[in-house]
Subunit: 340 residues, 6 copies
């Protein structure tokens, strides 16, 4: 489950802060290219993500370096990290990799933010599973990364084909409100869904488009019978959101009508606090679909510090010179990652 | 100043929520393809951004639609919008564009979040300018979009070549701490900078790497003389961040030594509140460089609602059927945007 | 609009604090019965209510007093009063009325609490009217008093026949959920309501019993046509209460279907803050039905102080001896009130 | 200890919400009278009260029902209940009892509110006893109900003859300030009290009317000697209320003068928090007299839901159809309650 | 109104921080004694006090300096100052005055804290006067300084002979509780006070020692007649402190008895907020006696910075080298102050 | 370690509240001089201080009393006391000591406030030591008392010679910023310090005057070698105060350079919370120097109550007559204290 080769824009340094390009130019003109050790750390407790993609980039940019002048150590996607813990250490000629600091940090910053938020939801919901479907809140160029990070954080599924492929899973989803609107009736839409899609797609029907949720859930259950996998409750804020009482009532009415096998999936403004609210009120939710809490998570700030130059410990003011003791770091085999 | 043609992954629907692909499949099998009107609105007061990129995508996906069955109306990048205000209205056969709803919303969600956060900083700093340099907090595939959005929000510059190009400007930046560390002395690094780069690059020197900021500022000013454009203060949190008093003192010491022309650029954990702190304490900052407040801004949630099907008003529960009065919308000339 | 003759239990002193009966016994044995002046005041800004009922009681208990030894001055039901303002002053032989202090204070305490809470709702809702229907929260022996007080506080209607009669109005109400449940369908219940009741009863139909409120509102409007006066929204807390968005949507859907004459009555946990929420969000509520905020209002504490005995100013510690300047007090004509 | 037969106004439905009368009229005209089951529950943790009075009312209104069509189950006055717990279940023809829902709920709502507030005070004060004397804050028609509820909540006494009779106790009380004012001296009033009342009335003397409480307590103790049961401290807010220090000082001064048998009763704005304040500061209060905290308690909201019609489970939206498991309910023998 | 010559301990540097003595020793051994300019500023908005005493000290320590090498500029006791405003500037040989920095700062720190707190009370009470009597909270060696500072802050009187003398006033006071306790009766104590003290001492009698304040106030007024200047209310916290209602009641009872000329002085835990409470509640207090709010005020932190050495601007990090523009400073004539 | 003989101003009653002098005059004229017992207590949990100085004063003022009419019991400096605990009990003729109540209370009030604040810092810092240097915030006449109280509270050192002498210690201190400014360089100042002062003075050098603290610390360590005892960090607020990270970095850089024996002393706005911040962040501070938190502590309010007169228990209102059980009090041998 891994992201592909870096784009040619990234390799060209187009996404680098310009001052790295200037530093490269100055050092070239001055004929300087020391052997430096850079350490990278984050600023918060987090679930690390994006570092595997960064390893691929580093493996490419250091492709032509002298082997004895290069060593890379790192943690892995999915590792839990603490504030200021070193997650990556690169030893190489500065001009070979300095330009890519922005890209490396950026790959980790967003993905780690997303994976960490996903983990919070997953922890709140356990043992019930969480699905991520926040693609609509991020640029389509990174929606696959979002989905991958959500799964690294513990989600059991995500909603885009590209993201699912990156994570080695099938995408997850129900039906959009637009489908129900076009059919003009929830049951008709459910029946077409059931008629037209392959048996591998679980029949999960959205029941809040036109009528009362409890009423629609029963109508759909009658129409699809055993083939109905579950119903999704997504009551809009204008109608008071999905409440724990609604879940309990729908569950009871389905059970009373003999449909105790039909699962209830809840979505709509979920976050860890709201997930806990459902669980504390005893609402039997079978799975939670989370959007903007994960996709809107702020990036985790990562920083790269030069700590050794040509073997001498050094550091800017405010930091401690020399390598940081980091027993969890593992050597990164660059050829393997280059071949990914 | 515009983003390019959509990637083939986007056009292939790889970044779409899978349920749109399923809806497409069902409608195709059922032989349905109604003429629908979809309206898109955001959930907050915001500076709209990403809609111009969305127009290009829409122009491409509707390329082969019958002209009399298509109309698109929209606002523009940079417009100030209110909650629930309609920013985009598409009238077309549903199957021609339904699959791209995720991509369209995603383009606007992140960019609008960034532009809005940038505007807050710009407003707080005015009349002093703001520069955005948050590329290190986002994936390199979207760092150009971040920079573009920051400039739409009012920043006068951004730090990546790709982002600057998108916004039609030259990238902005000073020098990294790593350069100073490699030279081992701020003045030596500054002299190399001055010696090696073309005259179009303003000489802005970072003065907090090794020694006291006030001391270094004076040493650099003596070394570069009139050629010194400004100094950047970026005192790390470990040393108490940049304070208003530090700015005032450095300004006073530079002035007393005859360097009143040297500008002071401040960076390090800035947000609108911190910017106002400097201004309220009378610190004469010449420009503010903002990172994670802009790059870490949460996306603004956008929603697409079908409001008419084959001419009949319709809406899901919680919404009002039919078109929303939206006098600010302007027709979008699709061929023009396709040609961008 | 006035309450009846005091019950024989009240006149017998059964509802008096026992220490007043003891004081009466002691004074009788000691042969003391001074001419005293008692002043009564409340502890809060309030809408005075219950004092007219108290006047009737006082008129009865002082029936056989020597006319020159009796004077009563008072304010009226509906007057706005301030903390510590004198609302009632009785000058008479102490043993003639001392025993009734508890009853007099009690009549005013609850009714003033209710009228004051009603006024707060009325002020928040103006110009839209407020109806009180809190009878279910108070003992049936005082539900008429509650209704009367709510109307003194500005409500345009109340729900019990006894209360309405006391206030000189017809009672107000719609239909209970039980009626809809028995008919098994909102429209059938509405049709029976329309068929069976006289034309003086406005057709207001409850629309949240079985199905979505917007759907039912349209069904009822179609069934009753012009005869439908209004619909009542009373969505239970389990379904997220009535929201401003629901009102706006139902209003829009009714208007789009040509039923702009159908009024919207809202109920369910209303208080001044919730009423203001509807108005601030522009929800076009035609009238508000308030229950427990009025019926559950705490009594306003009233106190009776003896301020003169046989012409000499006196007071207990903490109070100022002698009569309090009270220009708003008006003489009470006891024979008239006795005849009520 | 039970309330009497319902008044003829209650039996005539005068205190019912008018919509119940209308429902009755409609059902009569439509020839409908199904066998329904109604369940009643409250909304809060509470001490249940008023349900015994409700049983008498129900016993009367169902007097002529066919025995096999009637069953009533209920909890009892004094039971501790939780939110949404069923406290009463009636199965009967709807038209036989529907009209009395308002009265039944109202009997329970106020009394339960009062009993619950009393329980809070009793718990805070234990093992010292609490007396309720809030009659002056409620209408004299319900002051007996208030006193009864306070005793159900755990108070050892209440102040009105009617209330005490309902609870099977003698009323409790000291002397009013007016008695002291008429005698012009606390000691003279205390001596008359002692001279004129039977030995069954405990001599409790109010000591804050004219002079310092400690001074008066000693004067009264000297005057009445062993016959003095206790003194009451009721310092007005204008003089800083009764404080824990005042109690401690009066206790110490009484003890020093040899009057350690004289009890101290405290009143004046007491609530559970204030009672705890006395106990936490070690003030030796012998009993607490509570007024408006109990009498001003808001009613507890009770709701009646129809859950079965002619044997079929049913419920309005938001509730779960069918009977609620309620193992604590006990059958109510209607003839016995009718004979009360 | 001025403090005396500095003590010999102060002149000997006994109260100096020891590092100043060491600096002096080092400079002496190194043969250094530059001409320096020191500026002193405070850290808060304040009423400056203690600076006049500091001028006397400085005048003494610079007695033998070469006149052309000495200049002192300063503000005065009673001046209102802002944060970081220069209040004192000394130009002299460092070794002549460096040792006295601790003493100079200390004289100003405490006195300025006290004067500022006094000013807050005076502002709250205006136009009614404030008296300071906090001597019991400070060491007797500085109680005169406290009283002086309170008067500089606007108090009309203070309670110690030494303090009053320093401020050029007669001391102010009433009588202690101990006097009343010894006489065993407030009236007897008041009569002795009246009999034994000269006519210049206003007869202000404390009325809360044994009995109710209102009762005692009237007894004292009857006993002393026109000779009674005022009564002091000082109800202890154990009895609920002096309340606005108590003042109003005592005022009313005195007026009703014909003693409208008797003033009311209030004491006991007063601070600006409590003073405003009396005024907002309309209590007619004639003067306020404040203790610990003034005497317990924290010192205002003053700092001395060297800003010029032998004519060159200099400063430590964090400060701006060279003299601060300070147009309010006035030259200090040292011989005059030496002669004080 | 004891304070000297009371000053003649104190013995003359100059620092007494004037009403004690008046009481003395009245009693003299009336020929009254009862044998009274006064008890003194504080109002807060505290570390008692100043009572030993008060014993000396009392020993002097009671010098000529008849031995059988005098007894004094007390606690000692350094005892931990609770609110209202008796700390001093004097039995003597009133006129012999009444005048000194103000002085006695004042000696304890300030010193106890200071000692208590010192104890809080000491507790927060343990096992690292605390030094007090707040002399600059108090009048030089009491700076010795401040230092003594700080040491009673647990500080290991204080900064004035007079204070240190009182506590039987040598004064503690480093060097002032002014010394560094005069030498123009931290290293030059340090070298002169080292050259000119005796070996008993530990070489502690201030390192924040001109350059970065870490840089200066290393320069000073190189210059003084093993003779350097420690460095003091006192970064001004204008530069972000001393942070835990700064301490950690300076420690690491000193250790890396082989100077692990050099201690780090921190000062600048320290209080218990800030001290805990350093410890919780793992900053290895070797000692803390506290200024205004101790010197600016508010006095603890002490009160003297007469509880017995000529053998009879008595008290003013609000207090309990007679002696308070106080088993911790110990007899004070007056001749011994007089001889101090």
């Amino acid at each position: 489950m891994l992201r592909r080769r870096p784009s040619k824009e990234i390799l060209a340094g187009e996404s680098a802060d310009v001052y790295f390009a200037r530093a490269e130019e100055i050092l070239r003109r001055e004929g300087l290219d020391p052997l430096v050790t850079m350490e990278v750390f984050g600023r918060a407790d987090a679930v690390l993500c994006g570092i595997d993609e960064a390893k691929i980039l580093i493996a490419h940019v250091l492709e032509h370096a002298a082997p004895d002048e290069v060593s890379v150590e790192a943690l892995d996607d999915g590792d839990t990290i603490g504030p200021k813990e070193i997650v990556l250490r690169i030893r190489a000629r500065y001009r070979q990799f300095g330009l890519y600091e922005t890209a490396v940090l950026g790959m980790m910053a967003q993905a780690t933010g997303w994976a960490t938020a996903a983990r919070e939801c997953v922890t709140a919901a356990a043992p019930q599973p969480v699905i991520s479907f926040g693609a609509r809140h991020v640029h389509p160029d990174v929606s696959d990364t979002l989905d991958y990070a959500a799964i690294v954080g513990g989600c059991v599924g995500a909603s885009t084909p590209a993201g699912a492929r990156l994570a080695g899973l099938a995408p997850t989803g129900t039906m959009p409100h637009s489908l129900v609107l076009i059919f003009g009736d929830t049951v008709k839409a459910a029946e077409a869904f059931d008629r037209d899609l392959g048996p591998d797609v679980p029949r999960i029907v959205l029941v809040d488009t036109f009528r009362d949720e409890a009423e629609e859930a029963l109508r759909v259950a009658e129409a699809l019978g055993d083939r109905l996998y579950g119903i999704r409750l997504d009551t809009p804020a204008e109608r008071g959101r999905v409440t724990a009482d609604l879940v309990t009532e729908v569950r009871a009415r389905l059970d009373q009508a003999g449909y105790s096998g039909v699962r209830i999936i809840v979505s709509g403004g979920l976050d860890p606090e709201r997930i806990r609210y459902f669980k504390e009120h005893g609402a039997q939710v079978d799975s939670f679909a989370v959007g903007s809490y994960i996709s809107g998570a702020s990036p985790v700030d990562f920083t790269g510090d030069i700590k050794e130059i040509d073997g001498r410990p050094i550091a800017k003011r405010g930091r401690i010179p020399g390598l940081t003791a980091s027993p969890r770091l593992k050597p990164v085999d660059l050829p393997t990652w280059r071949a990914t």
